[in-house]
Symmetry: C2
C-alpha cells in the first residue's frame, strides 16, 4: 500500500480518507490496531505530526480510540462503522448525481457507462 499523495488536498486529509476507505471496505476490522504515528510517518515519508492530526480527527469522529501509550485501534462500535459506510455511499452518490446533472444523457446510457467502467475497473484499467 504505497498511497500516492496529490498536492491539492492536505496530507492529513488524504491519510484520513485512506483509513476511512479501509474501514469501509472491511480491510481494517473493529478493534484492529492502527500503525503507530511514527511508524506510519516513516512508511509514508511524512511528518509524525501530520499523522497525529489525521488520527486525532479520526478519534474525534469516534472512528478510532486510544488507550494510554498504546497504538490507537479501530472502533468496536458497529453503529459507527455502519454509519460510516452509509455516509460514504451516500456521499459518493450525491457527488455523482450532482456532477452528472448538467450532462444531457439518458438514464439507460448512464447505466451502461457505469457498467462498463465497473467492468474495466476490475480488469485493472
Amino acid at each position: 500500500m504505497a498511497l500516492i499523495f496529490n498536492k491539492r488536498d492536505p496530507i492529513y486529509m488524504q491519510v484520513m480518507h485512506h483509513f476511512r476507505r479501509l474501514i469501509v471496505s472491511g480491510e481494517l476490522k473493529p478493534g484492529e490496531e492502527m500503525p503507530s504515528r511514527r511508524q506510519l510517518a516513516n512508511q509514508m515519508k511524512i511528518n509524525p505530526n501530520t499523522v497525529q492530526r489525521a488520527y486525532s480527527e479520526m478519534e474525534e469522529q469516534r472512528l478510532i480510540y486510544t488507550e494510554a501509550n498504546t497504538p490507537s485501534k479501530v472502533t468496536e462500535d458497529p453503529d459507527i462503522v455502519k454509519q460510516l459506510k452509509k455516509e460514504w455511499l451516500d456521499q459518493a452518490l450525491t457527488h455523482f448525481v450532482s456532477a452528472i446533472d448538467p450532462v444531457d444523457i439518458s438514464l439507460d446510457e448512464l447505466m451502461t457507462m457505469i457498467e462498463e467502467k465497473l467492468a474495466n475497473r476490475k480488469k485493472g484499467n
Copy 2:
C-alpha cells in the same frame, strides 16, 4: 446564480468549475459573451485578479477566447466543447466508480440508489 464558495478549493478554480459546468450544460453557448472580469468580480464579491486567473486558465484550455479589449467569449470550436463534455462525464464516472469500489454492494442495488437520488434531485432535495 449566487455561487457559494467553499473554503477548501481556491476561488479561481471554483470559478473555472462554474463556467465549465455552464458550458457542459449548454447554458453558455458557443460564441456567447462571458461577463467582463470586473463585472464578475463585483457580482461574486471577489477580486478582479482572481477572475483574471480563472479566465486566463480557461483561455489556455481554449474554452474561451479573447479579442482585443472586448469581453472573452465561449469557444466556437465544437470539438473543444465536445471534448469538454466527454471529459466531464468520464471524470464523473471515474470518480464515482473509484469511490464506490470499497463498498460491498451489488450492481442492482447501486442502480436503484442512483435512480432514487436522481429522482430526489429533481424534486429539489
